[in-house]
């Protein structure tokens, strides 16, 4: 057995040596841990690690196969997202023990903190002492065994799985109920306790989901919606859109859910124009070669950056909202054009990974599909805090789309109306977030850039936090961004438009002198290369495209993404519909669109008199409306309105 002493080594060094020991199969003793965080994070070999003392946050987090024994206490999130393997804790555990585990066995001999087993998917969390507040909160599967008392609101909003309590059930959580305990389950628990040498002779009560809240009470009828261009708030008080809305609600009895972006007219990049006459832009045949467009994103803190052939990335969109074939097609197109693709929520498919040249792996609060192995094969990691289309709310995936295959990847029960958690179990503030970011870096040996996706809200504060929490870049998403499913009112009325979002973000960075300490990717309703150049002029380091990429790949903008019957095979999980989507064909279409974007960026940049996109600046822009001028501080010069760049049309 190898001994590692944290009195003389850093956690990073210890984790590095644990991986080395793992590779040769030797067990390790860790001394003087003194409650430090991230011990054993990212270990994926079947060795035993004994920790002599107490460990801090995320002990054994993002690990697989290893066996950990901690002689004393652990902090928050022991065994975070652990696949297989086990952790035995001799003392107490802090909050969220066993968060998001996917098969591991975790035994705590003392008491455990609040929200034990939050969003766990499979495996066993066993507490010999008492549990605290909300054990089993939002669990999707697996079992929790509590030999002591349950704590308040046990099983709150659990979707599946079982909680067995040997002591007193203090209070059942929302949508939890007592279930019948069968002999086989009891035998299995006894076998588990024997295996871990825990003696317990009492009886158990079993808590399961009561099934009252897994599905909406009614499903929305599928209708041919009024086209995207009509908006309920524009004209004629009881206009047809308002009526449509009321009709649908009169049938469903609840708020509407729909896909796509907002229809409400808002100040946007189209309210800006270029100061220079661009009527001759793009005349040079070799304009793409003349302009330097290669962009590196994510390397400012020493990680391996994303290498983009132009300052463009694909916006995060989930496998789930979109079909596997669609994610594959987009990934192929991104590789053909030399830019980065993003998994969005819901995990990484092999098809997507194989097809994408560079792939960002996104982590959301439900940890649906999140795991160490896919982290390792990603090119960037991203913590989603919110998105522009529905800031502060979680995703929705209607039952029709939650197929057994999709449920398997996400680790959830099939056929539920999945309402993803709107917040992370272990990120309740900027202080927790910094520890989470560090966990991701430890798990991937500081190799990958770590970004944060922020839906524009309190941008001034949020972007400063992103800098202080040491993110490499921010994906800033404005209100004009789209979604696969969101409440219709929220999509149209809640959020901060893309234009003021970036202005406020940059002002905030200037206030703390941190413009060089973070990179900024702007997204939220960007449609083409013209918008991309405007974003770059305003100060973004790159532009993100989501909806336009979907449209390039065949989307007809029917706004029925949430229903799951997408006729183009894009927003569906039904094989019959997905069959219509030809990834190779659509990848070529998307690639052609992206190459058009490239040409536009080159032509406009060149037309503005530069040979490098990094030379673009605010000085190149004017505002066409008083609103846009006020938001951006650009001069109000509406006379530029008619000077549409030739570049928009002629690619």
């Amino acid at each position: 057995m190898v001994t590692l002493d944290l009195a003389h080594l850093t956690v990073r060094e210890v984790n590095e040596r644990l991986r080395q020991s793992g590779a040769v199969g030797e067990d390790v003793l860790v001394r003087n841990p003194d409650a430090r965080h991230h011990i054993g994070v990212g270990l994926t070999e079947a060795i035993t690690v004994r920790i002599e003392g107490s460990a801090g946050y995320f002990c054994a987090g993002l690990s697989d196969q290893a066996h950990f024994e901690v002689s004393h206490n652990v902090g928050w999130g022991v065994g975070d997202n652990m696949y297989t393997g086990s952790v035995i804790v001799g003392g107490n555990a802090g909050a969220i023990p066993g968060v998001a585990i996917r098969g591991a066995e975790i035994v705590i001999h003392g008491n455990m903190g609040s929200r034990a087993g939050q969003v766990m998917k499979a495996g066993t969390l066993c507490c010999v002492g008492n549990a605290n507040f909300m054990a089993g909160y939002m669990m999707y599967g697996g079992r929790i065994i509590i030999l002591g008392d349950s704590g308040e609101r046990v099983g709150e909003d659990m979707s599946a799985g079982e909680i067995f309590v040997g002591g007193t059930i203090q209070e059942l959580g929302s949508d939890a109920m007592l279930g019948d305990l069968d002999v086989a389950e009891l035998e299995d628990i006894r076998a588990f306790l024997d295996r871990y040498k825990i003696s317990f002779s009492g009886s158990f009560s079993k808590i399961v989901n009561a099934g009252k809240n897994l599905r909406y009470g009614s499903s929305e009828q599928q209708v041919r919606s009024l086209p995207f261009t009509s908006f309920s708030g524009r004209s004629e008080y009881w206009n047809s859109k308002v009526q449509e809305d009321i009709h649908i609600k009169s049938q469903s009895g609840r708020y509407r859910i729909r896909g796509y972006g907002g229809a409400r007219p808002l100040p946007h990049l189209s309210d800006l124009a270029f100061r220079k006459d661009l009527s001759r832009a793009g005349e040079a045949a070799d304009v793409v070669e003349r302009v330097h467009m290669k962009t590196r994103i994510g390397g400012i803190n020493g990680a391996e950056p994303l290498k983009l052939s132009m300052p463009v990335m694909i916006a995060p969109m989930s496998y789930g909202a979109l079909s596997r074939s669609t994610k594959q097609g987009i990934a192929m197109a991104s590789a053909m054009s030399g830019i980065a693709e993003n998994t969005g929520e819901g995990g990484m498919s092999d098809a997507q990974r194989d097809a994408a040249g560079q792939l960002i792996f996104q982590c959301l609060g439900g940890r649906l599909g999140w795991n160490i192995h896919d982290m390792r094969r990603a090119d960037g990691l991203e913590i989603y805090i919110s998105q522009g289309a529905k800031p502060g709310l979680g995703g929705q995936l209607m039952a029709k789309k939650v197929t057994p295959e999709l449920a398997e990847i996400r680790g959830i029960p099939a056929g539920i109306d999945l309402r993803s958690p709107s917040r992370h179990p272990d990120i309740l503030g900027a202080d927790d977030l910094v520890i989470k970011v560090e966990e991701f870096r430890e798990a991937t040996a500081y190799r990958l850039p770590v970004s944060v996706k922020l839906g524009a809200g309190r941008i001034r504060d949020d972007i400063k936090i992103a800098v202080k929490d040491c993110f490499d870049f921010v994906e800033l998403d404005g209100m004009q961004g789209s979604t696969g499913a969101g409440s219709s009112e929220v999509i149209d009325y809640v959020g901060i438009p893309t234009l003021p979002a970036i202005i406020e973000a940059l002002e905030a960075l200037d206030e703390i002198g941190a413009r060089e300490r973070i990179e900024l990717v702007l997204m939220g309703g960007l449609r083409d290369g013209v918008d991309a150049v405007k974003a770059l002029c305003l100060g973004a380091d790159a532009a993100g495209f989501g909806t336009s990429v979907i449209i390039a790949g065949g989307c007809i903008a029917c706004m029925q993404c949430h229903i799951g019957q997408c006729v183009t095979g894009i927003a569906t999980q039904d094989p019959e519909h997905e069959h219509r989507y030809k990834p190779e064909t659509e990848a070529r279409n998307i690639h052609r669109f992206l190459e058009g974007v490239r040409w536009q960026i080159a032509a406009i940049t060149h037309g503005l008199g530069y040979d490098d996109v990094r030379e673009l600046s605010r000085e190149d822009l004017v505002a066409l409306t008083p609103e846009a001028a006020t938001m951006t501080g650009l001069p109000y010069e509406p006379e530029h309105a008619h000077q549409l760049p030739a570049a928009r049309a002629s690619s």
Partner: protein, 303 residues
């Protein structure tokens, strides 16, 4: 968004290196708050004397600042017995026998008051625990108890006066450190302002100090004030409070903010993370516990 720490050595017969202990604890959780660091330090009270501490601001006009403070103190009937300038602060000990709240409110108009107390001094500034120690000799403080705080500014500015601990302006020897966010801040603040309480920042944590001090001034025990705070304050919080003789904690019902507690025959120590507690006992596994949601407790140095 922060890390908090508190320590109390039991038995008031002798003093301990509270400054050094808090520096170590805060260094242990500095990752939770790199922007600023602060300490509430309690030393033995001298009968009839008050310790006041002020921010001087820019060094260029600090002379004028000190003069103004001296003059105002004299006008209010406080006799200076000791004074010094350290770092960005002016420290002064006075003999004063009148209403402390009046003195505090009047002095607040003349200068930026950090703290007033018979035994309390608050030391806070931007930077890390070691930065602040380098500037203010925090390690030299000896006493029986104290609080500490590291801050990551989220909504208000990074400046010394926005750092914790917060003193309840007008109430000698009361300090708090807080991790979390008080969401009914404005509503509660307006209620207290209608009763003529003075707030010197827009930081939600200051509310906790004023709220508790108001209760204490009414003769309510700290323990009972902490109890009602759990109902009266809305939001997420783990906070520590201290007075001349006591420290205590309160934790919200959602358990959204961490807190861990260690106690033995000699001392009680509370912090956001166990790693801070371990800084007091390197290489030793501690029997700690996490206070339950919605709970509170106090410890007195006199018992």
């Amino acid at each position: 968004m922060c890390g908090i720490a508190g320590i109390m050595y039991k038995g008031s017969a002798q003093t301990f290196d509270t400054g050094e202990a808090l520096i170590r604890m805060l260094d242990g959780c500095q990752h939770r708050g790199p922007d600023s660091t602060g300490f509430a330090l309690y030393e033995e009270a001298q009968p009839g004397k008050l310790k006041l501490r002020f921010f001087l601001g820019d060094a260029a006009d600090s002379r004028g600042g000190v003069e103004a403070i001296r003059q105002r103190l004299s006008e209010l009937g406080a006799t200076i017995t000791d004074e010094s300038e350290i770092g960005d602060n002016y420290r002064v000990t006075v003999e004063y026998a009148h209403d402390v709240q009046r003195l505090a409110y009047e002095m607040e108009r003349a200068a930026k008051v950090i703290s007033i107390g018979t035994s309390l001094e608050i030391v806070k500034d931007v930077g890390t625990a070691h930065d602040v120690d380098d500037r203010y000799d925090v390690h030299s403080y000896r006493g029986t108890h104290g609080l500490g705080h590291v801050r990551l500014a989220t909504e208000s500015d990074v400046k010394p006066e926005a750092a914790h601990p917060f003193w309840a302006t007008g109430f000698a020897d009361v300090a708090i450190v807080h991790n979390g966010q008080i969401t009914n801040y404005w509503k509660m603040r307006r209620r207290l302002e209608q009763r003529d309480f003075l707030f010197t920042t827009d930081n939600d944590s200051e509310l906790i100090a004023v709220y508790l001090a108001d209760k204490l001034a009414q003769g309510i025990a700290l323990n009972d004030a902490l109890k009602t705070s759990i109902d009266d304050l809305d939001g997420t919080f783990s906070f520590l409070a201290s007075t001349q003789d006591e420290i205590g904690y309160a934790k919200d019902r959602l358990a959204a903010k961490p807190m861990i507690l260690y106690q033995d025959d000699d001392l009680v120590a509370v912090a956001s993370e166990e790693v801070s507690l371990n800084r007091l006992f390197p290489g030793q596994a501690l029997n700690t516990r996490e206070p339950a949601p919605g709970t509170y407790a106090t410890w007195s140095r006199l018992t």
